[in-house]
């Protein structure tokens, strides 16, 4: 049975670990140099969902920016989901992720959104307070991830796939 493909865009500040999360999740097809040349790198992976049709996530890893320019906005077109990525050790990256979400909402009002707070392996250095995350969870699905150890990565992407398949 053919999996239904969905476009998922990774958004977040520079250095938060978007590319690392994608690399952890998929076997990358293209070189990361596309991020610095074209500004985006596309990979895909199929996820089996229990009791439902398989879902194929086409991941658009968009180069880290604090705001979306016109080119990046074209990359967002047609996306079914957004994975916001923040660095737990940098509280400012959370603000950037939320600003990017607000900016992209004008183009993608109905897209599924999930927040991944990355670098869980450095949790002792986190600047983002648990209370903040608790508050965020009331409006967004939040996953704590570590691209280095792989903790929470599968769950974050599976959560998105589940929401898309629902």
């Amino acid at each position: 049975m053919t999996a239904i493909a969905h476009k998922l865009c990774m958004l977040g500040d520079f250095g938060v670990g978007k590319t690392s999360l994608v690399s952890r999740f998929v076997h990358s097809t293209f070189s990361e140099k596309y991020l610095t040349t074209v500004g985006v790198k596309v990979d895909s992976r199929e996820i089996a969902l229990p009791g439902r049709a398989a879902c194929k996530l086409v991941l658009w890893d968009i180069a880290g920016r604090s705001h979306l320019d016109a080119l990046n906005m074209t990359y967002l077109r047609g996306a079914s989901a957004l994975l916001l990525v923040a660095d737990g050790t940098r509280e400012r990256s959370l603000n950037t992720a939320l600003e990017l979400l607000m900016q992209s909402r004008s183009l993608l009002p109905a897209a599924e959104v999930v927040l991944a707070v990355n670098k869980l392996d450095l949790v002792e250095q986190w600047e983002i307070a648990p209370a903040v995350l608790a508050e965020l969870r009331r409006t967004l699905p939040v996953h704590e991830t570590s691209a280095r150890s792989g903790e929470g990565v599968e769950a974050a992407f599976a959560d998105i796939a589940g929401r898309l398949a629902a």
Partner: protein, 584 residues
């Protein structure tokens, strides 16, 4: 404040010759004083000296330690760092070496470059030979002729047409990509190709297309329509809702793109009708083998449809040209043959050849100077080409030319007749004795003359003969042969006939003596009764009767005529003989 050292030296400078013991003590003091005042600096200097010595030692040992150090740096992560560090100096070093020691570099690289060059040349030659073989094979076949006509009609070079038909191309992958999201709607690949991540490729293609449009596209929205990487060509056909991306190996014909556009238009028609997913029908139209097959089937039909009328016109033009050429050649051949026949019978000319071309005609042959000029025979070329006579002189043995040559060489007067019969020169008439004597000696030496017959009368003897001949000629018409009826002679006609034959034979002899040719005409007459038709027949019959009777008696040169002016006034049934020609 005074310098203590200077003060000390000044204090000791007044002594001219100090004692040895006191001198040693003073030096010791000075040394102590130095150590007291300059101790720190001295230690610093000593340390610096030791460091310089160590550096010198390291410098001298660097050459022996450097290889091991470099080898050590190649281990682990140091290798990349070492490579980065050496990249720039090695580049500069190589550049300097090429400039200063080019030959060494050439010698070192030659074993590498040589095989590479040979391989490249061999590959290029193989391709060239293949191209030549293909061109030669196609040049002399119906297919080659068809391609030549196609090249002529379309204005494209023959080589391009050959390449278009002979270069193989192959469609490897076809992607139907949703324009907005970059997601794959359908993907078809040729069999036996390795699997690839179609979604990722389609996404990157879309992203690159957006990037190109955003970077270099005009405000009107330039798009990425084609890209080439090595032997692969990427064609992207843009549509409002979906794009068609084709990965092609080789050089496809440009019209293939039109087929792809047609397919994409058909897909958009389905999308507009509400279809959102792909089915077997979609996939069948996008399969690479189906695309190539459909294109190859459509292409000849498109090419053949408009070509019939021009081909027909060309064929007619060629036929007309051929017919015109054949007619022109036949006309030329006929004229040449006619010219050859005329020149072959022209006395004093021997035809050896005719060269006819578009620019002119040249007649080659031998021409006797005494022959009539052949130029009038050369006129009448139907193509009005210049005709040139290329003649070489020779001596002809034609009788007419020989007679003309004899008359010229012998300087014969008008009273002398010069004729040639089968190489025999016959001289007649009359002339002076001196000329006759000279002609008798020289006639046999005329080129081409085999024998000579002299029948020339001397002018003094000839005069008497001419007078006697004149009298006979004048009296001859008076001797009438009478007829009873029709051509029945009267009884007394036998005697008249005898007299006529006697005078005629005597006149023959006189003519030979006088150099005058003698000939006779037999004339018939009639009386008044009878119709003009009957009378004319009677006159002709009687003239013929007389001529026959005289021939029977030995007179050769007699001719019968039906009507003669000399008989106009005679009204009797008879016949008579008269001298032919003017007064002798």
């Amino acid at each position: 404040m005074p310098n203590p050292v200077q003060s000390a030296e000044a204090a000791t400078g007044d002594r001219a010759e100090p004692a040895p013991s006191s001198t040693a003590a003073a030096a010791s003091d000075l040394e102590r004083l130095r150590a007291l005042l300059l101790g720190d600096e001295r230690r610093t200097l000593d340390a610096l000296d030791a460091r310089v010595d160590a550096l010198d030692r390291n410098q001298s040992e660097l050459a022996s330690r450097l290889p091991a150090a470099i080898e050590g740096a190649q281990q682990g992560e140091g290798a990349a760092r070492m490579a980065r560090a050496l990249a720039a100096p090695l580049t500069h070093t190589l550049g300097a070496a090429v400039r200063s020691n080019r030959q060494i570099i050439v010698d070192a690289l030659f074993p590498v470059i040589g095989p590479a060059i040979r391989k490249a040349i061999a590959e290029a030659l193989r391709n060239l030979v293949a191209d030549v073989n293909r061109a030669v094979e196609s040049s002399f076949t119906p297919r080659g002729l068809r391609w030549r006509i196609q090249a002529w009609r379309s204005g494209v070079s023959y080589a391009e047409i050959v390449l278009k038909h002979t270069l193989k191309y192959r469609i490897d992958h076809v992607f139907l990509i949703e324009r907005e999201s970059g997601l794959v709607l359908d993907r078809e690949s040729a069999p036996h190709l390795p699997d690839l991540d179609a979604d990722a490729i389609a996404g990157m293609l879309t992203a690159i297309g957006e990037f190109v449009r955003d970077s270099v596209g005009s405000e009107g929205g330039g798009t990425l329509d084609a890209a080439r990487v090595g032997e692969h060509l990427l064609w992207v056909v843009q549509g409002p809702r979906a794009n068609l991306a084709c990965f092609i190996h080789g050089v496809p014909p440009p019209k293939l793109r039109a087929l792809l556009e047609e397919r994409l238009e058909a897909i958009h028609a389905r999308l507009a009708a509400g279809e959102t997913g792909t089915d077997a029908a979609w996939r069948s139209t996008l399969r690479p083998d189906a695309l190539v097959r459909d294109f190859e089937m459509a292409e000849p039909a498109q090419a053949a449809r408009p070509s019939r009328l021009p081909l027909l016109l060309i064929a007619l033009a060629v036929l007309a040209l051929l017919a015109w050429g054949i007619a022109r050649r036949e006309r030329n051949n006929a004229w040449i043959e006619n010219l050859r026949a005329r020149l072959s019978t022209h006395p004093g000319f021997v035809l050896t050849g005719i060269d006819a071309s578009r620019n002119g005609v040249t007649i080659h042959g031998l021409l006797d100077p005494d022959a009539d000029p052949p130029e009038p025979l050369l006129e009448g070329d139907p193509f009005a080409r210049p005709v040139r006579l290329d003649a070489t002189g020779y001596v002809s043995t034609d009788d007419d030319v020989l007679a003309r040559r004899a008359r010229r060489l012998l300087q014969a007067p008008e009273s002398v007749t010069v004729t040639v019969r089968s190489g025999t020169l016959v001289l007649g008439g009359h002339a002076g004795a001196a000329w006759i004597d000279a002609a008798r000696e020289r006639a046999a030496w005329v080129p081409g003359v085999r024998a000579v017959e002299l029948g020339i009368a001397r002018d003094d003897a000839a005069a008497g003969a001419r007078d006697a001949l004149r009298r006979i000629a004048a009296a001859m018409p008076g001797r009438r042969v009478a007829f009873v009826r029709e051509t029945e002679p009267a009884p007394e006609s036998a005697a008249v006939l005898d007299a006529i034959i006697a005078d005629a034979l005597r006149a023959q002899a006189l003519g030979a003596s006088a150099g005058v040719p003698v000939a006779w005409i037999a004339v018939g007459t009639n009386d008044d009764p009878g119709s003009s038709v009957t009378n004319a027949r009677l006159r002709a019959d009687r003239a013929r009767w007389l001529a026959d009777a005289l021939r029977a008696r030995g007179l050769a040169n007699v001719e019968a005529v039906s009507d003669d002016p000399a008989a106009a006034d005679v009204r009797e049934r008879g016949a008579f003989l008269r001298f032919a020609g003017a007064d002798p």
